[in-house]
């Protein structure tokens, strides 16, 4: 029988918690420390975000990467959102006995498929098709990356959507049914209004996954540093930039720019967490 004094035990459990929090803060600290020379040179962190990338003239702004990240992530949401909403309606609302369950199983399994496999299949299956269809460039472009990314983030959304649909009290739906509402009406007038916060939270989390993913954009988006003009242009994301530049000379300013990318990603993640938590907790409070 171990007899650890109560106070000591609490400290024993507290210590690893403090370590984990220190790591979370430390990650940002490291970015800040190592990116500092560039930030000082660029004058202002915000300046750096808005500057373009022209190493020849001493400009190491990460604006093109921010545009790349945002455009790829938002386009993937455009593809994935209706698809996910449709799938969740099929699972929770239409509730087809066999296919509904099967779909839920497939979606859950999808969360376990390695990202690099989506990238790999994308390179050899999707990119050549895009190239053939649009007859432009190599096929490595925003569109290819967004399509594959949409597949990656769909499970996040579907699982979140179905969960919030399922959490709408049954009695609400029954009340609507008693008034003669059809399944579709029940969904539109009862379920969706009750579950919209959950839907929005799912959207935010999926957006976070899309912004934070490295491999798919790195393998499929072509990685050119430019402000893309169309979805068929090549683009580089913040995450890919880190992966590509990290092999450069450690002391160079070019290298330091990846810490600015890291910091931007960290701050974006924090914003998303704040947004999702705000929505979700208010949601919980209402129930």
């Amino acid at each position: 029988m171990i007899n650890i004094p109560e106070k000591a035990a609490e400290k024993l459990f507290l210590l690893p918690t403090v370590i984990s929090i220190a790591i979370t803060i430390g990650i940002f600290g490291f970015m800040l420390l190592l990116g500092l020379p560039l930030i000082i040179r660029g004058g202002h962190f915000l300046n750096l975000l808005a500057q373009s990338w022209a190493p020849g003239s001493g400009l190491y702004g990460i604006y093109p990467m921010i545009v790349g990240s945002l455009s790829i992530a938002s386009l993937s949401l455009v593809f994935a959102f209706p698809l996910s909403l449709g799938c969740s309606v099929l699972i929770s609302v239409v509730g087809h006995e066999v296919f509904g369950r099967f779909l839920r199983g497939v979606v859950q399994l999808m969360t376990g498929i390695p990202t690099v496999i989506y990238g790999f299949v994308g390179v050899f299956l999707l990119v050549p098709r895009i190239r053939e269809i649009f007859q432009r460039g190599s096929g490595m472009c925003i569109l290819s990356a967004s399509l594959m990314l949409a597949v990656l983030i769909s499970p996040t959304m579907i699982l979140f959507f179905t969960d919030s649909f399922d959490h709408v009290p049954k009695s609400y739906g029954q009340a609507a049914e008693a008034l003669g509402a059809s399944k579709g009406q029940k969904f539109l007038y009862v379920t969706l209004p009750c579950a919209w916060r959950g839907v929005l939270t799912g959207l935010i989390l999926a957006g976070g996954r899309a912004l934070g993913d490295t491999l798919i954009a790195l393998m499929l988006a072509g990685n050119a540093i430019q402000i893309p003009g169309s979805v068929l242009d090549s683009a580089r994301t913040l995450t890919s930039h880190i992966a590509l530049v990290f092999a450069a000379d450690y002391e160079s300013l070019e290298f330091k720019s990846i810490f600015a990318c890291g910091m931007s990603l960290y701050l974006l993640a924090t914003l998303l967490v704040l947004g999702a938590r705000g929505l979700w907790h208010r949601n919980e409070g209402e129930k």
């Binding site: 918690t17 399994l109 376990g112 050899f124 995450t239 992966a243």
Partner: protein, 293 residues
């Protein structure tokens, strides 16, 4: 909403469902169709006899064995490092933290769970460079640095699964040992943790899966295309997901590309098996581990 709208909604949901399922089948089918030919012992062991390779008597060239072993070591080290810290933090969060402290701790763990993996990889890399410059010239990005970084990556999974499974225990169970004169620690160690073991276990399995599939962290912290088996934790190493990434851009012959397909199938099988295992152990926890807010 009229009958037509109703029909359109249902038709749309069916189209979405069928589209998603076909895409997944297309992706997996493509891998299997193209890569099934590559699946044999030669893919893993090359020209070396499997027994010699497994007993580490001979090096394996042109085979996936070093990459698989690298992934295996990576998983063992990372989860080994993250598990004690994650378990203790999860217990603290579920059983001790209250009010404001609890909110703040939860917030930080949500951030840790949302930080893109490449940022964690970059931090690992920076730590390695820092140690190289200030402590020992022997330290480069290596297996140990990768494992440390990956353990940060999977820490939230372990914390959340522990926390959620402890918190979901019914009040009745929580009070049993306390009513019998047990202290709080005794209650945790003898009743609460044993009762939530399946949830904790399934969180660990998910963490293993995450370590096995991650590419972004390891590509910044020491994985290389050819290294053979790592000689120590301070040496560079190979890993399956990085091999797949590498082949996709650097393959020089159809045969080499074929090994890429083979590696993908093997990685997919490993991850699916782990996932199914976690799923069977505890269904509900998977979902809550991913999306605890």
């Amino acid at each position: 909403m009229n009958r037509l709208g109703e029909k359109l909604l249902i038709a749309f949901s069916w189209i979405s469902g069928i589209t998603l399922v076909s895409v997944v089948f297309f992706i997996v089918g493509h891998l299997i169709f193209k890569g099934i030919r590559a699946i044999n012992l030669k893919l893993i062991f090359g020209e070396t006899r499997p027994l010699d390779a497994l007993l580490l008597r001979k090096q394996v060239f042109h085979g996936l064995f070093p990459a698989m072993m690298g992934t295996f070591l990576l998983v063992v080290l990372s989860v080994g490092l993250a598990a004690p810290v994650g378990l203790a933090s999860g217990i603290y969060l579920a059983e001790y933290a209250q009010g404001k402290v609890r909110k703040i701790v939860n917030f930080f763990f949500d951030i840790l769970a949302t930080i893109p993996s490449i940022v964690i990889g970059l931090t690992g890399f920076s730590v390695a460079v820092f140690l190289h410059q200030h402590y020992s010239k022997q330290i480069y990005p290596c297996l140990l640095i990768s494992s440390l970084s990956l353990s940060f990556l999977v820490l939230p999974y372990i914390i959340r699964s522990t926390q959620v499974s402890l918190e979901s225990l019914p009040l009745n169970t929580r009070l049993t040992a306390l009513a019998l004169g047990g202290t709080r620690v005794q209650n945790i160690l003898y009743v609460l943790v044993p009762q939530s073991l399946s949830g904790i276990l399934s969180g660990l399995i998910l963490a293993i899966g995450r370590c096995a599939e991650d590419t972004a962290v390891i590509m910044l912290t020491g994985v290389v295309a050819t290294a053979g088996l790592p000689r120590s934790v301070l040496a560079p190493y190979e890993a399956l997901p990085f091999y797949i990434y590498y082949i996709s851009s650097e393959y020089s012959s159809p045969e080499e590309l074929l090994t890429g397909y083979g590696a993908s199938i093997i990685l997919l099988i490993i991850c699916m098996t782990l996932f199914l295992f976690a799923f069977i152990v505890k269904r509900r926890i998977i979902w809550q581990t991913f999306y605890h807010l």
